[in-house]
Symmetry: none
Subunit: 209 residues, 4 copies
């Protein structure tokens, strides 16, 4: 019962924060849509800011829980692990059957960071980065200096995120119909193939769906 209000508040707030940003969202609107009292936010969270941080934390947890990063067994070829990695990212970003605000809110935080950003980087981004770097360790020459290794990682992740962050542009550029044809697999295949080729590797045949 009691938790219910709090959870409803969190979900509604998350959605609205993700949609409009921190400043443009209003506690009134959140409470109204969550069918909670105006004072409930301050009672449960103390503050608008603290409510915001809570939603970010929730988004972060849910994001990790619902589409957990698949185990990438060490004996799987690196190329295939990269494909899985990229595919999971797209899955998280574009899969429509979950509340979209989780990732939306996190990416907003990553572009225009508040104090909640560091936690995300530490708990969510850093593990992903490590995972990617482990994969790349097998694909890159051993003597490549650190900064360049990072840049290769950024080149891969940058390709993926572009499809999320700049959805509006893409839609306007290629048209709505073409946009709808972009499936998770198509995109994951493209990015993986592109990146592997850049690293002098071939796309593993059996993965290409």
């Amino acid at each position: 019962m009691l938790d219910d209000t709090k959870r409803r508040l969190l979900n509604t707030a998350g959605q609205i924060f993700a949609d409009k940003g921190f400043e443009a969202a209003s506690i009134r609107e959140i409470c109204q849509q969550a069918e909670a009292n105006i004072a409930a936010v301050h009672y449960h969270f103390g503050d608008k800011k603290q409510l915001y941080v809570a939603t970010v934390r929730l988004a972060q947890c849910a994001q990790s829980d619902e589409i957990p990063f698949p185990e990438l067994p060490a004996d799987m070829p690196a190329a295939q692990r990269l494909r899985t990695f990229v595919g999971t990212m797209f899955e998280r970003m574009l899969s429509a059957d979950r509340p979209k605000w989780h990732l939306q809110l996190m990416l907003r935080e990553l572009s225009y960071p508040t104090e909640a950003c560091e936690a995300i980087v530490h708990d969510y981004i850093r593990p992903m980065a490590d995972s990617l770097r482990t994969i790349l360790a097998e694909l890159l020459p051993g003597d490549m200096p650190e900064p360049e290794r990072w840049q290769v990682g950024f080149s891969i992740v940058g390709q993926v995120l572009f499809y999320y962050v700049h959805q509006p542009i893409i839609r306007l550029l290629i048209g709505d119909e073409a946009y709808r044809n972009l499936t998770v697999d198509t995109l994951a295949d493209h990015v993986t193939r592109f990146s592997l080729a850049a690293l002098g590797q071939r796309m593993p045949q059996e993965v290409a769906s």
Copy 2:
């Protein structure tokens, strides 16, 4: 004299809008910082929204004017033209000797578009896209279907924009010192080499500065 207020207002507003977004920016703050009267905004622009649109338009024009896209002569090898293209993008993004808010505001608009977005895409993005696609036409097999050509373009642009949009993450991941070492040329070289390799091309030696 007279135009001065309007221009001061535009520049200050642009800066603040770029920094905080439309909602979080307040007319009061803008006017105060621009040393203008509160009513001046409504006199010159009619509206907070219209002021915002005006700043976006200004950003867009200034952006194009100050670092114009270099002529890319048809007889220049495509690989080199790509390097120039990527270099110009990084230049526009990271060069410190101009007001930073121009691009900042445009990219904010592109991530969280309002009505001003379409104009940007039409006047600014579309020409860049055309330019890139012309270059790619020489680097890609002639029978590659349209959607894939777009994806290659997105893969290149995505790499570049990542360094701007997700600056905060990069800083947190690699540390401030390493971040400072990332120069325009380093990055442009990397992205170009990565992309050319992905397309089965070599980096033109004489271009790497």
Copy 3:
């Protein structure tokens, strides 16, 4: 305690609205005079307009409650009932021992109607009109057509209202001293006698107080 603010707000607002009209009255002034917070108006009433409507409604209720129309028994001579009717109207208009803004506001609304007008006509004017028409039914020939019956009613009511609506002119025309001599009874007697004479009736002697 709690209701107190709302009531204080209503009374103060009513007074000021009656005095200056809707547009010229300012929420700030109302709140200041009612010793309430500016936001209280929007909390309790939602809107300046809605506050206005609420005051009109209050005026209307209070007006009817405090000086209720006297029972006019069917066996009382029509002439005497007319005298009572006219007397009550004057009483309501000129009696000084109640908040004057009730009628003032209603008449303002009736001269320059907003959306609140219809309610007044329905709940306040119409019953009075019916009452008067019942009286006239006995004083007028049975075959007099409807429009003319209305006009007779308007002739009576018009005489009464003139003393309220055009107080300023009357004062200027006859002087302040003569104005002060106009009592409720004097006026009611005159209007009743004038109207009865117009209808070929005599003033009932025993009524003239």
Copy 4:
């Protein structure tokens, strides 16, 4: 040319003032509708208030000029002169073929007087009152005291004004169709006949239209 702006300003302002009242009317709106500069009002009239006074004065003059009070020859029977007097009042009030704001503004001023009111009473009302009192002098017993003479006058004028001031109520009470049937002549006949009867006089046959 020059006068043109001033005149346009006066007419537009008069219309708007009459419609909304002094406070609710805005200089901006007036200037815009009069196609004049915002500063024109202050240039030509100095002040919003002074502009208002000017419109009132204009209304007053125009009102007298356009439907001048007919000469009431001393040898015309008093009853007929009364009919003419009442008819002229109705004419001025209801005749549709002239700018309606003249009377509208004056009556607004008379109900809710500002400083412009006294002038109206002095220049416009007082002569009318004198005219009416001259007529009544012949119809009333010579020994009737002053206050009562005034009251008879008010009874007549009150009947007439009721149809103007409380148009909205009348419309709501008797319906739009019945309202449209109320012509100047019908009303003037009724009021005159009613009042004459009240004074023990007959309606002059040849006047009843």
